[in-house]
Symmetry: C2
Subunit: 519 residues, 2 copies
């Protein structure tokens, strides 16, 4: 047994079932070891951002890590942006990054770089094996680090000679830790806060957004009349008709501040007090008002469902939750397609138990409220703000949940960053329907340009935000990678196209032409 | 004048004419400042790997830096792989990376990351502005760092408030340093080595590969009978009929070692003694034989042309160089297209003074020798081994040299990493003809798998190297981004398609279907 085989064995023994891979020469023994491990599925991505984003999506849905296999520092570099998003999503991910053989490093061959340095900014844990035997041991440590509740990014650097040299004995599987419960003091403080008069909000994030946790939140709302809020960009929100509904914090800082300014207190579970996404001249960074009392019941690393259950019970909350979402579908307005029109049709056609990967950017602002009363579904959001997440996360979600329909609601500009994800959808015949909301623009930047105080931008500035010269043909980009596609620019055509796509088990793409910011 | 305007002014005053950009909210004031600077061209890339690769290509051809404009740590992360290649090419590049306003950083907003940490592994210089006035001052320092001969990667981190706040006075333009000449001792040692009997090679890299430097190398060959070798992966090699020809070191380590094992001495100018690209079990990392004397006349940071001129003069070399390449074209073999067939046709049709961006991988091994006797051209290679360089470098070369034809000779697997480069070619109407050598495979890995010692790979391993399921349709990927394209699978059709493409001033793509490794 060589080091690579021992590593793949310990990954498998610890429950890792999937490896998203973009390997090179220095990872060939790892590829061979995966080949010999029948319990490990290998999924090829044609760019590392697809690989790491898929691992993020997988981690969100499976609540355990996939492995990635990446080619030295440069390959890891290509995957960093989606690891940033995964880290911000608290997704469990285990990266395996090949390196030159240790004795080869001093020669500074062309692909040599400081891999640990590349890994550090986007990893919660970084390890480098010191021997063939240590490789599998560090693999177990990486899984343990990735599984620190609710999830972390762990990166293991594997020199090629540790992969190919023999090792003496297999490593023990990872020992997984349990999430910490809330402290008694924090619980008592939250109970006292909930019992005070005035306006109270319960502000939820991460694992507090799962169905069972939300039932507890709904019980608390039933007992106290508090409002239920959630982060703007959720890792994974279980929502739809029949589930406890939340109010989503607005994206723009001043709107968010206005939205929560009247609360006397806010209690946080799985989330921290909100801050502005960007800084703007003369606008505050911290969102809550000064007079609002902020109470952290459970930070993101404490057991969220348990915290909410304890709080509900301490409040003698009724069994039945408040705020249960009623079914609600808006009528489809025929004619020229808009983002709202896309949302209306998506809400109507979304199958029960769908998984939505939302990177629709400006258009997403309309999609989210319009789908609130659709059939039950999971909503995955862009957590770290680095665009190019949506399609890869859809890939990973589809691998994690092969019996559920995945819908990628995807802005055109963002989609280009990891357009190669479509190829993996085709290769693996993933049950993903992608909707490209094509407004031929970085529309958000047209808004932000004014918000940061740039007045009268000239044509050169505006051209940096414009994707209409040339127009991107998403039907061709999709078909070119093996995913059948159609285009729609009316609500009627979009309805028909989406219905056809969803009826098919396998990847499909619908290009929805919506107005650009200029009209 | 705000900090952004002062920065763009000092860049412009220091000779920076182009900014390759993929900006976000935190860079909007930089976009506005570029808008107000008529001497600065802004070129949008739809992915940061396109932006940094284009800056590399521009730097190689212009011998001065372009700026890049990147969005925080995640955006820089997306650009790292091609910065790695640029660093290995010794290309001058100035990255400007926006960051949150300094007062916003402690709030750890979603896009916050350790940007200096992300930058460090692939940058020779990293600076962060400390005030609006300091931003432009650091900009001048960044240019000075980038212009350290022959070129370096410099990364400047620009907090948003330093861009939008007023500054007091403009900064002084960068003071550019001159390359160091060779030392007298090194020259004397090289002269002595050249005068010894036995087999001698002159081994050239980087700036020693320019036409004028090569004339001096050819004079030395004429005086001494030494052989002229060059690195496997050149930053920029000026070659073709009428120029001094070099022998290229083979790629695989054991072939390279065999190729140079009989030399009694090797003298290096602009290059260091070669090492194996990867480590392999039981194969040496260091290529030169133990008995071979290695003499460094000029490392990459010393003036290469000057070094060769001094050596030629010290040897009383004749004025006329030896080893001048005669025109040489192979007959085109009709029928099924192969990599060799592509090379034969490319050699015949290549216009005088073309720029070739070669990322043809395995197929490139055939293209290089077959074009040796073509019309004079510049050949740009993958310097750092991180694939996805070819198309972006073609973009940058075309911006730097608008009157020259650029030809991207590009493998299919590598092309996918930065496929978005085609869109920039279309938007800017760049005079680039791209040839995709499509063998539906990471063909090199099929070779490397055996070389690292994996025997009898199974179907799961082989599928990680295979791009034929589904087949990528490069005509659609190209047309979808606005670049007209055709496909050819015979030598006759390829000849016609390439001739048509080259006759057109503007971007074109020809997909050349060549056999996959399996046949």
């Amino acid at each position: 047994m060589n080091g690579a085989e021992a590593l793949i064995q310990v990954l498998s023994d610890s429950g890792v079932e999937v490896c998203f891979a973009n390997p090179g020469t220095s990872e060939m023994h790892m590829v061979a070891a995966i080949d010999g491990q029948p319990k490990m599925r290998a999924v090829l991505g044609l760019f590392e951002g697809v690989v790491t984003g898929a691992a993020d999506g997988y981690g969100r849905m499976a609540d355990k890590p996939a492995a990635t296999l990446l080619h030295l520092g440069a390959g890891l570099g290509n995957g960093l942006a989606n690891l940033h998003n995964a880290r911000r999503a608290f997704s469990p991910v285990v990266n395996i990054v090949g390196d030159h053989a240790t004795y080869h490093l001093p020669f500074d061959a062309p692909l040599t770089s400081d891999i640990a340095g590349v890994a550090a900014p986007m990893s919660n844990w970084v390890g480098t094996s010191t021997s063939p035997d240590d490789l599998a041991k560090k693999g177990a440590l990486a899984i343990e680090a990735a599984m620190v509740y609710p999830g972390q990014v762990a990166t293991l650097i594997a020199p090629a000679n540790h992969a190919w040299d023999d090792c003496k004995k297999p490593a023990k599987p990872a020992k997984l830790s349990k999430p910490k419960p809330v402290t008694k003091a924090a619980l008592a403080k939250a109970v006292r806060a909930m019992n005070k008069s005035g306006k109270t909000a319960l502000f939820l994030g991460n694992r507090a957004l799962r169905e069972d946790a939300l039932v507890q939140a709904g019980r608390i709302a039933a007992a106290t009349g508090c409002r239920l809020l959630c982060e703007t960009f959720q890792t994974r929100l279980q929502r739809g008709a029949g589930r406890v509904a939340l109010e989503r914090l607005p994206y723009f800082g001043e709107m968010a501040a206005d939205y929560i300014k009247d609360f006397d207190r806010i209690i946080f579970v799985g989330a921290k007090p909100p801050v502005s996404f960007f800084a703007y001249p003369d606008k505050p960074s911290f969102i809550p008002a000064e007079h609002t009392e902020l109470v952290i019941l459970a930070d993101v690393h404490r057991d969220a469902e348990d915290a909410l259950t304890r709080l509900a019970n301490a409040l003698d909350a009724p069994k039945e939750p408040a705020n249960v979402q009623a079914p609600m579908l808006m009528p489809i307005e025929p004619g020229r397609l808009t983002a709202a029109g896309v949302g209306t049709v998506v809400a109507k056609l979304m199958p029960e138990n769908a998984i939505v990967s939302d990177e629709a950017a400006t258009a997403g602002l309309a999609l989210f409220p319009l789908t609130a009363g659709a059939a039950k579904h999971d909503w995955l959001n862009l957590t770290g703000g680095s665009i190019g997440q949506g399609l890869p996360v859809g890939v990973g979600a589809a691998i994690a949940c092969p019996d559920r329909k995945v819908m990628c609601l995807q802005a055109d500009g963002s989609a280009m960053y990891t357009v190669q994800a479509l190829w993996t959808m085709a290769r693996e015949n993933l049950d993903v329907t992608t909707v490209i909301l094509n407004n031929s623009s970085y529309a958000i930047l047209n808004i932000e340009l004014a918000r940061v105080g740039v007045s009268n931008p000239g044509p050169k500035a505006l051209s940096m935000l414009d994707l209409s010269n040339p127009t991107i043909d998403w039907v061709k980009l999709s078909e070119g990678q093996g995913v059948p596609a159609v285009r729609a620019d009316t609500a009627e055509d979009f309805h028909k196209a989406l219905k056809d796509a969803l009826a098919h088990k396998g990847p499909r793409l619908v290009e929805a032409i919506i107005p650009s910011p200029g009209g």
